[in-house]
């Protein structure tokens, strides 16, 4: 079965002709030229293919594209200029960069879902991704800096009119 699918990605509608057995990763990279999600292990282990489905991280190598219909998808291309992208640059949270988009997706979802994430919650979430260059310490620092910034913003008194 080959079908035309419409996917909601980064707030836009994308149409692709796909095989029903194509994974979301296949379609993003090969059909839509959204190559930010990386092909790593294709076994659910490394997290380099992570994207968000309705705000939650999923590994796109083990999700059928057809299963993503109706979900609001976010890929790394949709996170330009976000605090997490900046934090990764500022903290040098990468070396070769292959794992980076997957980590940023996961970390972005983490700070949205758990603005008060403890170290334990952060470790639980981040352990879904692998960095072969072992930038783990810098990645933690990047995530913590965004959490701290968010907390500061929340505490700042709002102007009353």
């Amino acid at each position: 079965m080959i079908e035309k699918l419409t996917l909601d990605i980064n707030g836009e509608q994308w149409v692709a002709t796909v095989r029903m057995a194509d994974t979301l990763l296949d379609v993003l990279r090969e059909k839509l030229d959204l190559t930010g999600a990386k092909r790593g292990c294709e076994n659910g282990d490394c997290g380099s293919c992570t994207v968000l489905a309705d705000g939650l991280p999923v590994k796109s190598c083990m999700m059928l594209a057809v299963d993503a219909i109706g979900k609001k998808l976010t890929t790394i291309e949709g996170l330009q200029d976000t605090p997490m992208q900046h934090a990764f640059v500022e903290k040098w949270a990468f070396q070769c960069g292959y794992c980076t988009s997957g980590f940023i997706m996961n970390a972005h979802a983490l700070v949205n879902q758990h603005p008060d994430a403890t170290d334990e919650i952060m470790e639980e979430w981040l352990s879904s991704n692998i960095c072969r260059c072992t930038s783990y310490q810098e990645i933690r620092e990047a995530v913590k800096s965004v959490l701290k910034e968010q907390r500061f913003d929340r505490k700042r008194p709002r102007n009353r009119r």
């Binding site: 079965m1 029903m20 997290g47 992570t50 590994k59 083990m62 059928l64």
Partner: protein, 280 residues
Amino acid sequence: MLHFNFDYYRPSSIDEAVELFDKLDQDGKKPIYLSGGTEITTLGRLNQVFTKAVIDVKGIPECNVLDYKQDSVVVVGAALTLTQVWESKILPLLGEACVRIGDRTSRNQITLGGNLASEIIYREAVLPLLLSNSTFVVAGIEGIRQLSVHKIFKEKLRLKRGEFLVQIKVDGKYRKMPFYIEKKRKSERVDYPLITLEALKVDRSIRLAISGLCAFPFRSYEMEKELNNTDISIEERIDRAILRIPAPVISDIRGSREYRIFVLRNTLLDALIYLGGVRA
């Protein structure tokens, strides 16, 4: 990338699903049910799974139920993700087993039904369901069956051709009972288990279920009997329980047979102390 293609169906009712299966089966399509889809995509890539048609059960309302009313039965739909089961806190005994499976992102995709029906030997979510004498609700072309876990889960889920798992039911009394769970991995934070042991205290006796020790998850009444024999020392009870392990102990890259038994011995001790099964 999967090297084969298939047709995809997403029925919205139980009847539609089982009728579809029946028809596709007769047409020689070798249909399989799909839930989280993580095993079909990963094993499919390695050509360890093959089908010409998948039937996604996630659109069936009964498979998405999460329900508990005071003093009644907890109902958990088979298509709920492990994250959903854990976050619901509906049945801590089950939630704590789910949160130890895989990693956080994978748990957003892996479903309870998928884990129980998995080809991969661990099927850790069954441990609390064995301990709580749960009921499995399964649907097939002949209708709905409700079976004790002990009848339908023997080493693995034993469904008739064309049947799928709809829900799990657990008596609400198990929500508050004391339990102990420990997943020991080789070294990483995320991995399949060296052993996962879950123990439940019901009145004064302890129930025990284990995954990763043998080639299938199990609850052992023989081991429980030895552990609950309070006439002898705790070390003796554990020694005797170990003699009752129901099948050969796995020896693989995660750990040798001897190491697994060593880990089991220590974990049993921790479990007995935690649950107060030890005489002062």
